[in-house]
Amino acid sequence: MRITKHPILPVETGEEITFFFNGKLFKARRGEVISSALFANGIAVFGHHSKDKSPQGIFCANGQCSQCSVIADGLPVKSCVTAVNEGMRVESLEKLPSLPELENLPAAGEVNVVKPDVFIVGAGPAGMMAAIELGKLGAKVLLVDDKHRPGGKLVLQTHKFFGSSADCYAGMRGIGIASELEKEIGNIPSVETWLNSVAIGVFSDKKAGVLKGKEYVLVEPKTVLVAAGARERSLVFPGNTLPGVYGAGAFQTLVNRDLVKPSRRLFIIGGGNVGLIAGYHALQAGIEVVGLIEVLPQVGGYKVHADKLQRLGVPIYCSHAVIGVEGNGKAESITIAEVTDNFKPKPGTEKTFAVDTVLVAVGLNPIDELYRQAVSFGMKAFVAGDAEEIAEASAAIFSGKITGLKIAASLGLNCGAINPQWEEKMKVLKAKPGKISNQCVTTHVTPAQAGVQPADNLDSRFRGNDGGEQLHKSAGRKANVRPIFHCFQEIPCDPCVSACPKHSIRLTEDQLTALPRFEGECTGCAKCVATCPGLAITLVDYRKDKDNPLVTIAFEIGNDLLAPGQEVTIVSATGETLGQFPVAAIRDFKINRTLLVSLKIPAALAPQVAGIRLQGNGVRSSFVTCPGQVTNEDLTPLPQMTNEDLTPSQNIVCRCERVTAEKIKEAVKSGVTDFNQLKAITRAGMGACGGRTCEPLILGMYKSEGIPLNKTTLSTLRPFVMEVPLGQFANIKKGLGIGD
């Protein structure tokens, strides 16, 4: 299925082409990757593993693993990074691929060497910022990225960014920031950008190998900066490699880059920002989010993200773990259970939900292999952004900026001293979410609880962070209008401050992480409501009717879901039902692609109102009759399923070589502490992804077996970061790969 309308992203239909999958004709969009074309046609199973016949689908959708491999025009390719062509014959990979014979002897070409001052790997926020700083100082920069457009993961982010408006584009959506940076780089002549180009490895002779499209080029830079971002972590549980179980980032690629709707009902594992945002993106794409689990007692991501989901009717289950994903050949249901303080499942607490997709959002690991290898080869190397340390994109922007200047200084360019405050700011941006005021912690709110909570039982913590009581008093004195901040957690964020034309919104002592406060005049313009990245500001306007003020709420899920007069379920900041009220007015705040929805609410309730429920007796179930939309029933667990069908062989650690957790444990227990020996014995880490997916899992298993990491030996780093056809190294022009 394709996304035909999206509240934020422009839907361009593009040129339609046709291709074959297993002999059947399907439609695709020119330029899209094979995996997205398959998902658009409802195909999620791409083949079966040659070792154990297990069904295979996507996992990373980012060229990092190889689970999505298919045969395209006779050759095995990663479907997530290979564009579909008119008439292409795609086949599922059912056994080891055979190498087609070549008629003619291809002629080899020379390998060119280029020598930039700075070689930047990755045109995401960090790499682009560094390129801009260096380029402005006149350094000869070569910026490479494996995707067809710069921006990295910014191009997948439809939500407004947190951080600092002054320094890192806070308040803008990720996609917008990517375009800004792209424009800026385009204006700097000394920065050369190679897209669709992969840095595959560095060598001891201080050169890096780059696949520039189909040409193999060696880059011999004065300095290398690795800003390659991060890859998603895997998680071990029964059914963890079933098609339909994949990374939250992969999902964002499908829905936000390729506008493909890969799911009708999904579940999310992991309550960090990636998982929370993926849930929000799913709702924007018209996909039901059946639930989200977090193994810790509290979500790790920003509270405003969790609150947004809960307001829209997504249950968040904290202190819950996945027991397994079940299904015949693909994911059909997920079973979760509550965990004890030691993260062991509590018997009898299992719940099973029917879903077609399970997103794994259990954290990210830096893609820093090229950096570590460059350092080991004595190259002058730097690392920035997520490749250095996993943090928000806003921190990556800063990290790129600072690192760019550090490189400039190391090249002897006249860039002046780096502002010492910048490091300080970056630290703030990298900081974990801070304390939550009023003990308003997001824990385990089930739809049942949320649904039965009587509105008049809500306490003051649901009335804005600077106190509903005060507001009531002032409202009683004279007609008034003012913002209410449903913003309870210290995070680095300030777009509301600059949004207010009257400068009436301030952060305590101008600290970026402080909670916003309202002091002074309010014109009721609602710019703060439309700007807040957390959708955590409402406007309460008593001017026309002080007993039934007009409450304005930001809504960015769908432009056609609401209409004036429509009765909607109003909820508190954390999603508790406050009642049913009709929509009074809708204003399209076009600059931010945000709808401002106003409702007349009794004065006693007005300050508590923070959102409109979408799922589970919300907008979609009550008013939208589109088939496949979620109903309250869909959010309710199925009768508990047994796990009898789940054999341990489904508990996969190494996806490429199909190595189970049991086999790794056995080796670890037998005394193997050298990762290289573990690889030799089990083949874990010997597959196409080079151990990048399973190595962190195995390190975790060592830890849980009580073996400290300093007693283990890590595997040897070797080129390459991805598999490359042999002919590319000889720069063969004809007969190589697909599309010739």
Binding site: S50, L75, P76, K95, L96, P97, S98, L99, P100, E101, L102, N104, L105, P106, A108, V111, G201, F203, S204, D205, K207, G209, Y216, L218, S376, F377, V672, T673, D674, N676, Q677, K679, A680, I681, A688, G690, T713, R718, P719, F720, E723, V724, P725, L726, G727, Q728, F729, A730, N731, I732, G735, L736, G737
Partner: protein
């Protein structure tokens, strides 16, 4: 428990099979290695070819013994070590190569090797897609083969432990203890161990260990780069050795292992002396051009990983397997010139007999070719 019958220095392609056969002979055996586990020296950089098709009797006989051990391992011991009886083929595109190969056939056959000359059509049958232009034919020895060095060494390791061998990893030998001209043991950075026999199976470090015992070993390392591809459906069985010189290279050789991956290696010209094991940017463009010229369809196979390993070379290309005589009890099993993996098990048996004093007449003849005190004047025909 610091007293042993024999101490093996080096837990690699040679040391581990030595330990296995020494333990089998009920000798209390200790293996010491400075790396954290078995096979972390050159073993894991070996591509896994196992052939008896050498140019002299000593290597042929030792490798025939090795092949028996590799071939029968799964049947006798149960572990899969990836053995495949795929054979070796040396295709000839030049008259000189044809002559050289044919001349060697007589020696090889004399030692009982099943090897023969096959014509161009037969070569194309066993290596489908091989470039037919100027292909004159090839030697083909169907009973040679290949195995996984990683799986094999771990299987030998497990067996040796089962037979009672002890291992000390992450330990560096700092001194060979000698009293009155006889070996007394070994001192490491962590401990001291007593034994009347020390086996120098230290691979790339053999010359340094030799020096500790006052034995000068003419072993110098040079380096070769190798790589491995993704697995594809099997389409050729033998190890293919292209003897022709090419750009910055002598021969290249590659085969398809039991996983379906093609494992490949190149001999650089001029040789690169030293112990640098880090990959270079030169290797892949060189070997890619040559492999594709030989089998064009290889252009589309994806390379997964590359590495660089060391060949501990002797001047004549033959190893040294000998009792030093002085000091007494110092046994040398070193200088395998890049063939330690294929020679290892056969050498392990010889070392067992050297230590237990049970060499047969035939074994003595084999060891003649591997003596420490030889001229090193000859030259292995194809290394």
């Amino acid at each position: 428990m610091k007293n042993f019958d024999v101490i093996v220095i080096g837990a690699g392609s040679t040391g581990v099979p030595c330990a296995m056969f020494l333990a089998e002979a009920k000798l209390k055996t200790l293996v010491i290695d400075l790396m954290p586990s078995v096979g972390q020296g050159q073993n894991k950089t070996a591509i896994g070819g196992i052939r008896a098709t050498h140019s002299d009797g000593s290597k042929i006989k030792t490798c025939l013994e090795s092949i028996t051990i590799f071939r029968d391992w799964r049947r006798l011991e149960g572990d899969d070590i990836g053995w495949q009886e795929g054979g070796y083929t040396f295709p000839a595109y030049r008259e000189g190569d044809e002559t050289l190969l044919k001349n060697t056939l007589a020696v090889q056959k004399k030692f009982g090797l099943d090897i023969d000359w096959i014509d161009s059509a037969a070569v194309r049958k066993i290596v489908p897609g091989i470039n037919p232009e100027n292909l004159r034919g090839a030697t083909y020895s169907p009973h040679d083969g290949n195995a996984s060095p990683l799986l094999a060494i771990n299987a030998f390791f497990r067996k040796s432990v089962k037979l009672g061998a002890a291992y000390r990893f992450n330990e560096k030998v700092v001194q060979i203890l000698i009293e009155n001209g006889s070996i007394k043991g070994v001192k490491t950075n962590k401990d001291t161990y007593q034994a009347p026999f020390v086996v120098n199976a230290a691979g790339a470090g053999a010359a340094q260990i030799g020096a500790m015992a006052g034995v000068n070993l003419p072993v110098v390392c040079d380096s070769h780069e190798g790589g491995i591809t993704e697995p594809v459906e099997k389409f050729f069985a033998p190890m293919v050795v292209d003897m022709r010189p090419g750009k910055s290279s002598k021969n290249i050789y590659f085969y398809q292992n039991d996983e379906g991956q093609i494992v490949f290696c190149l001999t650089p010209e001029p040789i690169i002396i030293g112990t640098d094991r880090r990959s270079t940017s030169l290797f892949l463009p060189l070997i890619a051009e040559r492999m594709i010229a030989l089998i064009p369809r290889l252009a589309n196979i994806k390379v997964r990983r590359v590495w660089r390993g060391l060949y501990p070379m002797t001047p004549d290309g033959f190893p040294i397997v000998d009792a030093a005589g002085q000091p007494k009890g110092f046994i040398i099993a070193a200088g395998f010139c890049g063939q330690g993996f294929m020679l290892g098990p056969g050498v392990g048996k010889l070392v067992q007999k050297l230590v237990t004093g049970s060499l047969s007449q035939d074994d003595r003849q084999t060891l003649e070719g591997f003596r420490l005190r030889r001229q090193f004047a000859g030259m292995e025909v194809f290394k």
